[in-house]
Amino acid sequence: MAKITFIEHSGAEHTVEVEPGMTVMESAIKNDVPGIEAECGGACACATCHVYVEDAWRAATGAPEEMEEDMLDFAFEVRESSRLSCQIKVTDALDGLVVRVPEKQF
C-alpha cells in the first residue's frame, strides 16, 4: 500500500492508503477527498481532477502526456506542477506522494 496526502486549498490534509495500480484520482474519490470532482470518471476528458504535485514529487510522477496536456487547457490556474490525477498511476515509488488540490475545479 502507498500513502498519498491531499492538501486542500484551505490547508486541510487528507492522507489515504492506496493500492498500487489505482490512479491518484480513484484514491481521492474512493476516500471522499473534497475538491476532486472527476466528472468524466477518469477518461482524461474533463480536467476536474486537477492537482498540483509538490515539487519534491514532480520527478517521480513525471510529466503529462500530450493528451493530458491538451486537457489541462480546460483546467483553471494551471501551473508547471499541474497534473490530472486520473493520469497518475500509483506505484510503490509514489508512497508518500503529496499533491495540492486547487481552490476550484471547473
Partner: protein, 354 residues
Amino acid sequence: MQQEVFTSAAADGATAPIETHAVIIGAGPCALFAVFELGLVDIETHLIDILDKPGGQCAELYPEKPIYDIPGLPIVTGQGLTDRLMEQIEPFSPTFHLNQRVDQLERLADGRFRLVTDLGQEFITQLVVVAAGGGSFTPKRPPLQGIEGYEGTSVHYSVRRIEDFRDREILIAGGGDSALDWALALQPVAKKLTVVHRRDKFRAAPDSVNRMLAEVDSGEMDFLLGQVTALHGDNGQLEAVTIRAKEGESRFECDTMLPFFGLTMKLGPVADWGLNLHQNLIEVDTEKFETSEPGIFAVGDINSYPGKLKLILSGFHEAALMSQAAHKIIYPDQKLVFQYTTSSSSLQKKLGVR
C-alpha cells in the same frame, strides 16, 4: 460507420410546432436505444440534444475510449457504440434536433405536453422521455471573481451573430477548436482581437492553427501567453483583465471576452419542470420508469431509484420497460402482445429485415 443525421430547419428561428408521439430529451446511448424500443411498439420519436451530434457523453467525452461492459460487445469505443446504435435505429427514422436545449416543458389542457427549445422550436407531444444523462452540456465558466455580472454583456460563451461583435476589442481565452475558430471568424469585424492561452501549443485542427499563426505574424490578430486571473470593469462592462504569465501579472485592456474552456454537464432547465428530484436526479418507479408526472419518463443516468446503477446497460433495460408503458398511453385501446425480434414477423417487418 457514418450515419446521415436529419436535423430540423429550426436553426434560424421557430418553424411550425412539431406534433409527435414522443419527444426524447437527449441523444446519448440510452436515448438512442429508447428510439429502438419505442419504434418496436409503433411510437414515433423526435430527439432534442444540445450537442451537435448524437451520442451524448460517448461521442463528446470519450469517443475513442473503449467500453468493456456492453453485453455482447467485449470492447467497443464510445463512438463505435454510437454508430452501432444509429445503425440499429435507422429503420425507425427518428428526427434529430441538435444544437438545441429544451427550455420549457408544460402540460396542455388536453393532457399532451408542449416543449420549446432555446432556438424557439415548439413540440406538441403525447409523452416525454428525459434521457439527458448528466444534464445538458454547457460551456465551462471560468471561476473568475464576479464573472456572472459580465455575462451577456461583455463575457460570452458562444456567438450567435458575428455582427454583434463588430468594432469590439475582443479577448478570446483558450486554445482549442472553438477558441481558434471564433478568433478567425471574429477577426474581420473586431476592432482588435487577441487570443490568450496558457501555452504556445493548440489543441485544434492544424489548418486553424496555421491560419491563426499566420494572422498573428501579419499583425491581424495578437497572441498572448498566459492565463486570465481577474476581470475589471463596471456595471457589466468589461474594461480590462489581469493576465498572469511567467514574467508576472499585467493589465490588458479589452471590452469583450470569450472564454472557451470546454463543456461541463449541468442539470439545467430540467430542474424547473416540477418533477420530483433526488440529489439532482429525477425520481422514477422501477416498473415503468415514469416520473412524478404521468406521461413523462426518465431513463439512463438522469434517473434515480433504489439500487440504481449508472450503466449504459441499465439505461437500455429502462428504455425497454418504459416503452411498454408508453404504448399504453399512445394506443390505450390496443393490447400489447409481448414479442421477440427473433421470431415475430411483425417486429421483423418494422425492422426491415423481412
